[in-house]
Structures are given as structure tokens and as C-alpha cells.
């Protein structure tokens, strides 16, 4: 059963898109990430133009993060103060990101930048996560394991504009979450991701927040950032495909449910290890494509209709 995507201007098999949404949703339910970092490359792989894949990916993440935030809110794992400081940075970042996206698109380098961003960030984060989870698994085997220091003072605590985040039990400079939010905002505009896979480690390791609080809070700000990206892409590049977004959503919502049920059966470090392996695999595939000689050195793009 085929459906014509009005913005992507191509026909796709409905079942393929539903299955893709379902698979990514399953993984996102399993690992607690938005799944955008998988969705966008898969969409590009099946032939959706990169700009449409990025904007539509952002639109779909709005939905999956909302359902995630509601679930975390019910469990009381939301720090609104932190969320809104991150958000302030995120709005600035995503606006800058959309402008940057338009500029790079006009240069003809947008595909390269999207892929490079993926390779760099997936590589760094996947690698670090893999190391960390392997270490944890080994430590658990050796029984006991050392306890990490709860709090460490670094240069980051010397920054001005300190704010008390009650829910997270932190007293840090507002510049830190602002900067992180801004950075992730730029990335989500360029890569079509919510940025959870960057935001989550940054909040845990740089801000020192509790893991349980991190996921919900990062999702909260992701909603607004991806909504902002969706809106700005809609008015500046007209690349948001609602039909594609709805199809992806339906699959993702169902898949996420099965994913979260399955997650209960696995240990935390095993989950993180698996996620890290997947992230590294996606990274290697993209890196390989950048380095290997393409089939055709030339590519065409319609600059303007006739």
C-alpha cells in the first residue's frame, strides 16, 4: 500500500514507514532516548530528501517527547526550573541553527554537515557510553565496585549568575544549562534530533544531576526546542511533511510501548552497552559513506521550479 508524501514529493510504502517508526519507537522506549538520531539517517536512506527528513524528524520528536514527559511527570521526575533554563538556551540555539541550516543549504554543503555532525557526535558519545558500560559491567562482576564521588568542584562552579535548582538539589551558574541548551538547540536544527543523546550525558556528567531526573527534564526542553525547529523550518524552508510525520508517529508510539516493556528485563548497564553499540554502528556506517568513493561524483539539485 503506497502513499504519496506531498512535501517530500515521493511515494512510499505505508507499511515500511510504520515499521520504521515502530522499530525506532521500540529502541527509544527501550533506551529512553527520542530516537531522532536513528530516524533521520533511516529516512535519508530510503530516499527522503535530507532537509525534509530533518524537519519532519523534529516534528515527530515533539510527539514522542510529550508522551515521555507526561509519563515522567507522573513519577515526579521533572525539574521545571532546570527545564526552563535549558529551554531559554535551546530557543536561542535552535533559531541560530535554522539560520545556519538555510545558509549551509544555499552553499550546497548541508548534506555533508548533517553527516559530519552525526559521525562526530555519535562517535564521541557512543564511544564514551560503551567504555562506561563495559567498565560498570566488569566492576559488577568484581563485586562491590567503588562509589563515585557525589560532588566535585571544578572551574564550572566559579561561574557567575548562580541559581538554586531545588528539585535537582543543585546550586550552579545558570550559564551552564543555558550553554548546553543553546548548543543542543543548534544541533537539533541541523540534525533533526531532539538532542537527548547529547543532553542526557551532559546533564549527568557536567551538571551532576540524578539520572532519574535527567531524562524527564531533558525531554521537557526537547519538546519546545523541536517544536521551535518544526515551526521555523515550516516557515523558512517548507520542508515539514505532516503526512510522513503522522505515519512515523503511529509506528513510534506503538513500538515505544513494547520497548519499555522489554526494557524491564534488562539491567541498566546492559541497556546502556547495547545503546552504545548501536550508536557506534550508526556512526561507523555514516563515516564509511563519507570516506568511500561515491558511485557518481556528481549530484543534482533543483534550484528553482520552471
Amino acid at each position: 500500500m503506497y502513499i504519496y508524501l506531498p512535501i517530500a514529493e515521493m511515494s512510499v510504502n505505508v507499511l515500511t514507514i510504520l515499521a520504521m517508526g515502530g522499530a525506532v519507537g521500540f529502541l527509544s522506549g527501550l533506551f529512553g532516548v527520542g530516537g531522532g538520531f536513528l530516524m533521520t539517517p533511516i529516512l535519508i536512506f530510503i530516499g527522503v530528501p535530507a532537509p525534509v527528513a530533518v524537519s519532519t524528524g523534529a516534528n515527530q520528536i515533539v510527539a514522542s517527547s510529550i508522551s515521555g514527559v507526561i509519563a515522567h511527570w507522573r513519577r515526579g521526575n521533572l525539574d521545571f526550573t532546570m527545564g526552563f533554563v535549558l529551554l531559554a538556551g535551546g530557543i536561542v540555539g535552535s533559531t541560530l541553527g535554522v539560520l545556519l541550516f538555510k545558509f549551509l543549504e544555499s552553499l550546497g554543503q548541508i548534506d555533508l554537515v548533517i553527516k559530519l555532525c552525526y559521525v562526530v557526535f555519535l562517535g564521541v558519545i557512543g564511544g564514551l557510553m560503551l567504555l562506561e558500560s563495559v567498565r560498570t559491567i566488569l566492576q559488577v562482576r568484581q563485586s562491590g565496585g567503588r562509589r563515585r564521588k557525589l560532588h566535585q568542584h571544578t572551574w564550572m562552579h566559579g561561574l557567575p549568575f548562580k541559581i538554586r535548582f531545588r528539585k535537582s538539589k543543585l546550586y550552579i551558574s545558570a550559564l551552564l544549562p543555558l550553554g548546553i541548551g543553546c548548543f543542543v538547540g543548534i544541533l537539533s536544527a541541523i540534525m533533526g534530533v531532539g538532542g537527548g543523546f547529547i543532553m542526557v550525558p551532559a546533564m549527568i556528567y557536567m551538571l551532576g544531576m540524578r539520572t532519574s531526573m535527567v531524562v524527564g527534564t531533558s525531554l521537557l526542553q526537547i519538546i519546545f526546542v523541536t517544536a521551535n525547529v518544526t515551526f521555523l523550518q515550516a516557515i523558512s524552508t517548507q520542508t515539514v511533511d505532516v503526512v510522513l510525520a503522522i505515519l512515523l508517529l503511529v509506528g513510534a508510539v506503538v513500538g515505544a510501548q513494547f520497548g519499555s516493556q522489554f526494557a524491564v528485563k534488562l539491567k541498566g548497564e546492559q541497556l546502556r552497552g547495547l545503546l552504545a553499540l548501536m550508536v557506534v554502528a550508526v556512526c561507523l556506517k555514516l563515516a564509511f559513506d563519507l570516506v568511500v568513493t561515491p558511485d557518481d561524483l556528481y549530484s543534482i539539485v533543483v534550484s528553482q521550479g520552471g
Binding site: Y2, I3, Y4, L5, P6, I7, E9, M10, S11, N59, Q60, V62, A63, S64, S65, I66, S67, I70, A71, R74, G108, Q109, L112, L116, A227, T230, F231, L232, Q233, A234, I235, Q238, V240, V242, V243, A245, I246, L249, V250, V253, A256, Q257, L290, V291, T293, P294, D296, L297, Y298, S299, I300, V301, V302, S303, Q304, G305, G306
Partner: protein, 254 residues
Amino acid sequence: MNRLTKLSMLLLAALALNCEAAGKANAQDLIADLSSHRVDITTGFTGADLLLFGSVDDDGDIVVTVSGPRESVTVRRKERVAGIWMNTRSMQFNSAPNFYAVAASRPLEEIAPLEVLERQQIGASHLRLRAAAGGKKLLPEDENTFRTALVRRKQAQGLYASEPGRVTIIAGKLFRTQVHFPANLATGTYTAVVYLIRGGRVVHAQTTPLLVEKVGVGAEVYTFAHERSAIYGLVAILIAVAAGWLAAAVFRKV
């Protein structure tokens, strides 16, 4: 497909009768028409096949070309920079047809000499594609490479014919050919041209227009996105919010 064949036979028969009647009065050498003058891109669009048929009074070869609306295309060339392939040089072609198909009753080279094919722009490799002035200075041979690349990429997308299709001539009088339009078709006005070529010269030519349009929900979504993009963006977000909310509400009970 079967229905299409039957329809074409009927049309051909009707046309043949018509021609005989017309032949007595004033001979028209070439008559051609399409089975439909519209291609509707609906929500379930996966491509379309149209039948081009007609009758010819004289002997000679029939060549059919169908070309889409002209558009401006940028061809980019990748080069290895620090181990990574990136786009470096580009060239813009201002009026390349979006779609180009050709069909002939015999191989094109046998029908007409190269000059004629080039003058009439018959065959994807004979399309008159000119690089836009301005930009970086490029050598003439570069223009050729970029032009060939443009045709090659379009062929890979299924938008330019790689091989001419077949025009079948029945009893030296009636001809027919099928034109395939792929799913990634652009909207606009297309032109079908039928040539009667004898002794390497174009004796007659007839032009028929064809309209490709998005219809239904897809068309509305597209217009909405382009004409009221701010509201479209808000609606897209609202749909996502509602879907996320609904999902959370449904799965709470599970």
C-alpha cells in the same frame, strides 16, 4: 493495463475510420493524441502510463518525445578534501526539462542524422542544456562533463529516458506507444511532440499538451505548507502534541 489496451484499440479503430473520411477531403499527414491530457497525482500515486496514438498517411518513421516543465538545476561535483568527499564545484543549468521521454519506431541513429536529432532535441543526450553565465570560469569541456552528469543523474532518478521506447506502427498507418511517468513526477505542463521523419528530415510535427497536477489531500497539504507556512507549522506542532498526549493517555492504562 488490459483496460488501457482495449481502450487504445477502440480509439485506434475510431481514428482509422475518421482518417479515411478525412483523407477524401483533405489529407492530414499526421494525427496524434494522448489517452488522457491529465496526470493526477493523488494520495495513492505510484506512477502512470499514458498511451500516445495516432495515424499517419505517408510512410516514414515516427518519433515521440515528452518533456516536462523547464527548471533550473544545479549540478555539483564531489572531490576528496582531507579524506572526505565533499561538494566543491558546481554549475547551474537554467532550463533543463524536469522530465524527458522518447520513443521511436526504429533506432534513432537509423532514422535521422545527428544534426537533425540535435536541432530537434530528440534523445536525452541531445537536449540543449546551457550552463548559466556567471559564477566561476569553467572550461568548455567542463560544461560537457557537467551536462552529461546532469543527464546521467536524471536517468538514475528515472526522469530521463535511458533507452528510447518503442513506437509500434500497424499496417503502415496507425501508430501507438506507451509513455511511463514515474512516481517522483513534478507538477506542471508537459509537452508531447510527435515527429514524422522521412529520409532523415522532419516532414511533420504535432504538439500535444499534458497537465500534471497534484489533486486531493496531497495538493491541499502542499498548498497549505507553501502559502500559509506559519499556520501550517503550528498545525504540524498541534498534531504532534495531540498525538503525544493521546499516546500517554492510552498507555497509562496498559
